[in-house]
């Protein structure tokens, strides 16, 4: 896809975000707004925007925020079991970063008209979703390495494509988030490489972790979907299709995984030079559907933990929001 911003030098700067004209129908406003987006325009929180666009951005950012918040739970289970102090510091920093990302993203979402409390209510009641990869157990320290390296890598491929989102507050937030995620990938890769150069048992643990995580990783970006029917693409909330993201992930990471002697558990995986794309066994979309609707192996346990954490910290929120006592 041609980057619309690449045309700026010849077209000049984008016009000012269109507002809804008096008496204009929502459809007519949307049509003018779409033309503005197609010309590379970006939208700020306080700009007028059609309801359909506002809802689409909110839905997208809310699921992203939910995933950051829930995504720390698999890793937090290993904070107290990290093998060295430095690993523990690094993992703690990563968990802090991800919670921070959730804070930044909920803030972006709140400006679109849904309160943080409502978003947490919906998440904990199972009415909204979080990414599939956070519904699985972490069985060994190798899982911590595979998650930080490959789950974060698959995520950053998607997130880098969001730095040019038409919704500018999201785009700016993604620039900060991508910068931090790049450190997580280093931390994860370092754990994995350390383990594969360790004992036979450590090496086997990494391979076993990869075997378990490969399926969810291939499902993570979602099934192929036609570009022309995707409103998030049309409105430039995101820039790339699921399949484009998966292909890029494979292009960068398959060589790096194989380089250290790990075997990817997909006998059909190969790069098709003629078609110029990766071929792979069809990911298990039934598993993806089941997992993201909270029927994954750890879905209930993770939500229960998050509910507990929310209940236990209610007094802090109450204290902050309480009116100041008269002196």
């Amino acid at each position: 896809m041609t980057d619309p911003r690449a045309l700026e030098p010849v077209l000049g700067e984008s016009p000012v975000t269109p507002g809804k004209l008096g008496g204009e129908s929502e459809d007519a406003f949307l049509a003018r707004f779409e033309a503005y987006l197609a010309g590379g325009g970006s939208v700020e929180a306080t700009d007028p925007m059609p309801d359909a666009y506002r809802t689409a951005v909110l839905r997208f950012v809310e699921m992203h925020a939910n995933s950051e918040l829930m995504g720390v739970l698999p890793e937090r289970e290993w904070l107290m079991r990290a093998p060295t102090l430095r690993r523990k510091l690094a993992l703690t920093a990563k968990v802090q970063d991800e919670v921070g990302h959730a804070q930044l993203l909920y803030r972006v979402a709140e400006d679109l008209g849904k309160s943080r409390e409502a978003m947490l209510d919906d998440l904990l009641a199972g009415r909204t979703k979080f990414h599939n990869v956070f519904h699985y157990p972490t069985r060994s320290w190798a899982d911590v390495g595979i998650i930080a390296w490959l789950v974060d890598a698959a995520a950053i491929v998607a997130q880098q494509a969001l730095r040019d989102s038409s919704y500018a507050p999201y785009a700016r937030t993604m620039r900060k988030i991508c910068w931090e995620e790049s450190v997580h990938i280093m931390h994860g890769r370092d754990i994995v490489i350390t383990m594969v150069t360790g004992t036979r048992r450590q090496r086997a643990q990494v391979q076993e972790a990869l075997d378990r995580w490969w399926g969810p990783l291939m499902q993570m970006h979602g099934p192929r979907s036609p570009r022309e029917r995707d409103l998030d693409l049309r409105w430039r909330i995101k820039a790339r299709t699921s399949e484009e993201l998966r292909q890029e992930f494979l292009t960068i990471y398959v060589p790096r995984i194989r380089e250290i002697g790990l075997v990817i558990p997909d006998p059909e995986l190969r790069f098709d030079e003629v078609a110029d794309e990766w071929r792979y066994a069809e990911p298990d979309w039934d598993e993806l559907r089941s997992v993201v609707t909270n029927h994954g192996p750890m879905s209930e346990a993770r939500l229960a933990f998050r509910r507990l954490a929310r209940d236990e910290t209610a007094w802090v929120r109450d204290a902050i929001l309480a009116p100041p006592r008269a002196a």
């Binding site: 970006s42 700020e44 931390h187 490489i193 150069t197 250290i260 790069f271």
Partner: protein, 110 residues
């Protein structure tokens, strides 16, 4: 809008500007003005006369919360695990590659 200050007293206002659609607001400079309206007018004259800004924010300097405590922002501890440079994998990677009998991968297969 901010409350008007005492009449006739000039005070500094900080001006933040967005250069083009989608950019972050960046500090541009400051103006002296006796009230919010004149601060906006001066900001427009100084930072918006050549169409170099698509948006300005003008904030009374006294209203800005300032934090520059190095103990909080630049603590003298090793935080290298929070930075990409904190992970040096070259030698380990070469060992892993040798053990696996793998060559260094090409940059990208396409």
């Amino acid at each position: 809008m901010t409350e008007p200050g005492p009449a006739g007293v000039l005070e500094p206002w900080e001006v933040f500007r967005r250069e083009k659609d989608g950019d972050p607001m960046r500090h541009g400079g400051s103006v002296m003005a006796p009230d919010a309206q004149l601060a906006l007018d001066y900001a427009r004259e100084l930072f918006g006369r050549r169409q170099e800004s698509v948006r300005l924010w003008v904030v009374r300097r006294a209203d800005i919360l300032d934090l520059d405590d190095p103990d909080l922002l630049q603590p003298p501890l090793d935080r290298s695990f929070k930075k990409p440079g904190g992970y040096v994998m070259r030698d380990k990677l070469a060992t892993a590659r040798d053990a696996a009998g793998q060559a260094k991968p090409r940059a990208r297969p396409r």
